[in-house]
């Protein structure tokens, strides 16, 4: 009985709250109510222009400026390494994976890329040609450091 009363009270409170504030129409859900499944947006085109993007902070993993659909990265084979591998960049003219990728967790530089850096798309992602549903408020380092000379992206 107590539980039933509590549920009714909570529901009433929820109704009152909903009347007071306008429905949130931004965000990934859009105007879909919370108890309904929102419609999935159409799949966006992957950016495939091979133009390197600026990095938002020094340690940012560079994004992938090309399609990587169905690339095989598994125990047997790493497709990314067939262009970005150390011995392949001469032919492919792709950027080589950085030296940090050859370091194991003890900082030793190995011959092959380290297993902990093996799965490229854990950090590096292809970009889609979409309008972000939520605006990013990320600020570049130079913009938040008060006495720094103003430069960098966004200035």
């Amino acid at each position: 009985m107590k539980a039933a009363i509590a549920i009714v009270l909570v529901a009433l409170a929820g109704l009152a709250g909903a009347q007071g504030t306008p429905a949130v129409v931004n965000g990934l859900r859009g105007p879909t109510p919370l108890d309904a499944e929102s419609k999935a947006p159409p799949l966006a085109k992957t950016i495939n222009d091979d133009q390197r993007r600026a990095r938002s902070f020094p340690a940012q993993p560079p994004v992938i400026p090309h399609q990587v659909d169905n690339y095989q990265v598994d125990l047997r084979f790493n497709k990314c390494m067939s262009c970005h591998g150390r011995e392949r960049v001469g032919e492919s003219q792709a950027p080589m994976v950085s030296v940090t990728h050859f370091q194991d967790r003890d900082g030793m530089i190995r011959q092959e890329i380290s297993p902990r850096r093996y799965f490229c798309t854990q950090c590096h992602v292809a970009q889609s040609d979409v309008r972000p549903p939520v605006k990013s408020t990320f600020q570049d380092f130079y913009n938040v450091q008060p006495d720094a000379p103003a430069k960098g992206k966004g200035k």
Binding site: D50, N70, Q72
Partner: protein, 196 residues
């Protein structure tokens, strides 16, 4: 021994070269023609039977390994619905080369009978070797099976990504490279142990 053999040869030669006694020339020529059509047609129909995807994937070796790997690729599922079946890439299209490849495939029948790759583990152990055979074949015939559909003359570089256009307009155009040099693993998963 040799004399008896010679006698036999001479006997069969006389049977073979003697004119027909009871059958007319018309029956023999027309009958020969019709039977020729039947046998030739039958032979080619039977060969075509073995050149269809349901036949290839009739064996679990092909169905459970390579066919499943083909399914997520663009050669199986894509926007326009044009697709390549097994023989489109793995069997030459012109008749003589096809016949040669089919004779070679008797090795595959042997493999099927003796279970060379009848488990996942056995298949994985042999994957690189089998893949190398296909790469060598496509390298040797200048990726003919790719070119049956992908015609270099009809490639519009301006519709390709910059990277693709660069490679196709240089290395491929100069015939320094052929399709398979760069597009290994386009329809099936690649093997461990190959150069990246």
């Amino acid at each position: 021994m040799i004399r008896r053999l010679l006698e036999r040869v001479r006997y069969w030669w006389s049977v073979w070269s003697r004119p027909a006694v009871h059958l007319s020339l018309g029956f023999l020529t027309l009958g020969g023609f019709i039977m020729g059509v039947v046998f030739w047609g039958g032979f080619n129909t039977a060969m075509e039977m073995t050149n269809r995807e349901p036949f290839c994937t009739g064996c679990h070796e092909m169905h459970d390994n390579v066919f499943q790997e083909l399914k997520p690729t663009i050669h199986y599922s894509n926007r326009s619905g044009v697709r390549a079946t097994c023989p489109d890439c793995h069997v030459p299209h012109n008749w003589t080369s096809k016949l040669a490849r089919k004779m070679q495939a008797s090795k595959e029948v042997w493999g099927k009978i003796f279970g060379t790759i009848n488990t996942k583990e056995k298949f994985e152990a042999k994957r690189l070797e089998l893949a190398k055979h296909e790469w060598a074949r496509l390298k040797a015939n200048d990726s003919l099976e790719c070119r049956n559909c992908h015609n270099f003359e009809s490639m519009d570089f301006t519709r390709q990504s910059q990277r693709a256009a660069n490679q196709h307009s240089t290395a491929l155009a100069r015939k320094e490279k052929t399709c398979i040099d760069c597009h290994k693993g386009i329809a099936h998963r690649l093997a461990a142990g190959m150069a990246q």
